[in-house]
């Protein structure tokens, strides 16, 4: 435990010098790195097809595309990154559930219509474009994918319980939430360790997405205490009272999906990737059927160009190439990103069978769902307000809180969050 004095001073001086130097470099960076030849692209793991991104680097070899797969909570990191020109990406993904909260700050992003999106727009789903459009007509996001929802179910477990196993039959016979839950009760009887749903929050988000209204309306008024949300809540609580809720709210979902603790998963098209990653061993045992009581959308992301983008024209060119019909079809194969351009639905990548789902042609379920998704207005504070409901639903599962009390608390908390966020 001995420090030589001389070495200590040398080190200290060196440190001070490096700190000063890095500070100086850091300070001068905005000028240095903002050349129009280097573009920074941010997305999260699974947010884009890695292969398409890799090809984009080759395709646009005159530009250096620097990609960062950001971990942690993406929205938080992006908000931080956007603060300065030097840390901001030139192209960034934004998740579907977050896009609304960025609309009030649309001036932080480029209007894609001015870059040529107005000409491409007819090729893409109009309701999806609307999600990224401000009230004065600025479009800030190029749609990567949509999240048409479906029921993923374990065919082998359904067979054991004597339930229908064929996707078409499951879709038609379990066409309402009540029928679906009834099947869950039978399944749990036949296979006691299996539950129908992993948690009731998942049911709630599906049920809310099936409506045309959410928690806040276009006049910026809180409507989370009205009948449509109440009905979704009642639907969500049912599997809990029926004892077919696995109550999984943590990372054990991964194990549960593999060992048959949960027999179905309610999720969007991209959910397929989550299942495949969590339980590669269950290949061939899963099937996809239509969501009970009508289609719903969950997530589905965008690529946006922050206003600090070093080369808007080039960036837009790259984005529109990465998200053309052909590459979207590849995105579906690689990363289960469901295309936002109907032209892609005709391509073999989508019309072919999926081995993970026993060769099922899942487009037959997702295609019709994508077309019939109800377009609901999503207010900027929607995600923050809805958090209260999800928290209270987990409280029912974690503490056995009375669902009626939980509802009252959820509404009163949601009202407060709404008030803090400036909602009437």
């Amino acid at each position: 435990m001995d420090l030589s004095r001389r070495r200590f001073l040398q080190a200290a001086v060196l440190t001070a010098a490096t700190a000063g130097l890095t500070a100086a470099c850091g300070g001068s960076e905005p000028g240095g790195s903002k050349d129009s030849k280097t573009l920074k692209l941010w997305y999260w793991a699974g947010g884009m097809s890695d292969k398409v991104v890799a090809d984009a680097k080759k395709q646009f070899s005159d530009t250096t595309l620097k990609t960062s797969v950001i971990g942690g909570d993406f929205k938080t990191k992006l908000l931080t990154g956007l603060k300065t020109a030097q840390t901001a990406p030139d192209i960034t993904g934004i998740k579907g559930e977050d896009i609304a909260s960025f609309l009030p700050n649309a001036n932080r992003f480029l209007d894609l219509n001015e870059l040529g999106m107005d000409k491409l727009a007819p090729e893409y789903l109009s309701w999806k474009l609307k999600q990224a459009t401000t009230q004065d007509g600025k479009l800030i996001g190029f749609p990567i994918d949509i999240g048409p929802c479906a029921v993923y179910y374990r065919e082998d477990l359904f067979a054991k319980a004597g339930l229908p196993t064929d996707p078409a039959k499951v879709s038609s016979e379990l066409s309402t939430w009540d029928a679906f839950f009834e099947a869950g009760v039978e399944l749990h009887k036949a296979v006691p360790k299996s539950f129908l749903v992993n948690n009731i929050g998942a049911v709630f988000s599906m049920a809310v997405g099936q409506g045309t209204k959410r928690f806040i309306d276009e006049d910026n008024t809180f409507i989370g205490d009205q009948d449509h949300i109440r009905a979704a809540w009642t639907t969500a609580v049912k599997p809990y009272t029926l004892g077919i809720d696995a109550k999984i709210n943590d990372n054990t979902w991964n194990a549960a999906i593999g060992n048959g603790t949960v027999a179905t998963g309610l999720g969007a098209a991209w959910y397929a990737l989550d299942i495949q990653n969590a339980a590669p061993g269950t290949k061939g045992k899963w099937r996809v059927a239509s969501l009970p009581s009508g289609p719903s959308n969950l997530g589905g992301s965008f690529l946006c160009l922050p206003s600090t983008c070093a080369n808007p024209e080039k960036a837009f060119e790259i984005v529109s190439w990465m998200l053309n019909a052909e590459n979207q079809a590849r995105g579906f194969t690689d990363a289960a990103l469901f295309p936002t351009t109907p032209a892609a639905y005709e391509l073999p990548a989508l019309t072919g069978g999926d081995a993970f789902f026993g060769g099922q042609k899942t487009i037959e379920i997702f295609g019709p769902a994508a077309e019939k998704i109800p377009a609901a207005y999503e207010a900027p504070a929607d995600a923050a307000v809805s958090a209260a409901y999800f928290n209270e639903l987990t409280a029912i599962e974690a503490k056995g809180k009375d669902p009626e009390d939980a509802w009252k608390d959820a509404v009163s908390q949601a009202k407060q969050i709404a008030k803090r966020q400036g909602v009437k």
Binding site: R5, A19, A23, G72
Partner: protein, 277 residues
């Protein structure tokens, strides 16, 4: 004879209890190694494997695919080393002034130092974040190093040591030779306070190495993360592959623990001394 037996038995039972405590203390390290050297399937299985496997290299390979381990390690080392050196230099210098000199406003300044103890750093973190944005330091390592260079504890600790550890006679002699403040610091104080510096250095290094909330807030890009943040993200994103995550934990934790055990005896003695003061 009988009473001696009883005494021995009591001694044995004391050691038995203490050994149990030691086992609980170090068990996580053993189990982290077990998990990191087996496959995830072995961990999920019932009954789980209880002994080391031979899958460590594969797990490490997966780890390197998923995160830039050496990049994060490098960032962490930079932050910890720079912070430590700055703290050692600033604090020993300031401590010398506080310990051996009178100057205006000294009492006030020192009192301010003591008051800083109870203020939680989170009180400052939002404006700190905005300041880093203004300075263009967001997402850089100096956003972690510079604020950490102001270490009230270090000054206090060094001052305590300097008061008794640096003989006034030596300082007087240096003064008579015509040495000014900084020459005295360099020729007299630094050689005398080395043991205290060693403790403060290790302490600062460990604290900087393990810091989480500041890097969590200040760092953005995967290539600028420190180990702690990178590990937490790895866990959040890949909690299925426990053996891979544990390989990362193992690599991040073991070096520090080994280094610590090497210095442990002196360090612990100093640490308790600090508490008793």
């Amino acid at each position: 004879m009988n009473s001696q037996n009883r005494k021995r038995l009591r001694g044995l039972s004391v050691h038995a209890v203490l050994m149990l405590c030691v086992v609980i203390s170090v068990f996580p390290f053993y189990w982290i190694i077990v998990m990191a050297t087996n496959t995830s399937q072995d961990i999920y299985r019932y009954p789980p494997k209880l002994w080391f496997g031979d899958n460590l290299l594969t797990n490490i390979q997966h780890l390197f695919d998923k995160m830039d381990f050496f990049g994060s390690l490098f960032n962490t080392v930079i932050v910890a080393v720079c912070t430590t050196l700055l703290v050692l230099f600033f604090d020993s210098l300031a401590a010398f002034a506080f310990a051996k000199y009178d100057f205006p406003a000294k009492k006030f300044l020192f009192g301010l130092l003591l008051a800083m103890y109870i203020l939680p750093t989170q009180l400052a973190i939002i404006p700190q974040y905005e300041i880093m944005i203004q300075l263009g330091w967001l997402g850089t390592l100096q956003a972690l190093i510079v604020p950490a260079a102001a270490n009230a504890f270090g000054i206090f600790w060094m001052r305590q040591y300097t008061i008794t550890g640096v003989p006034d006679e030596l300082l007087d002699a240096a003064r008579i030779d015509g040495s000014g403040f900084f020459r005295q610091y360099w020729h007299v104080v630094l050689p005398c306070v080395r043991p205290a510096l060693a403790f403060l250095g290790i302490y600062t290094f460990i604290a900087a190495w393990n810091d989480y909330i500041l890097p969590l807030v200040m760092l953005v890009n995967p290539d600028e993360l420190t180990l702690q943040v990178a590990l937490a993200q790895l866990y959040a994103g890949h909690s299925t592959d426990y053996s891979m995550v544990m390989a990362g934990v193992l690599l991040a934790v073991i070096p520090l623990v080994l280094v610590f055990t090497f210095f442990a005896r002196g360090f612990i003695a100093d640490a308790t001394k600090g508490a008793l003061r």
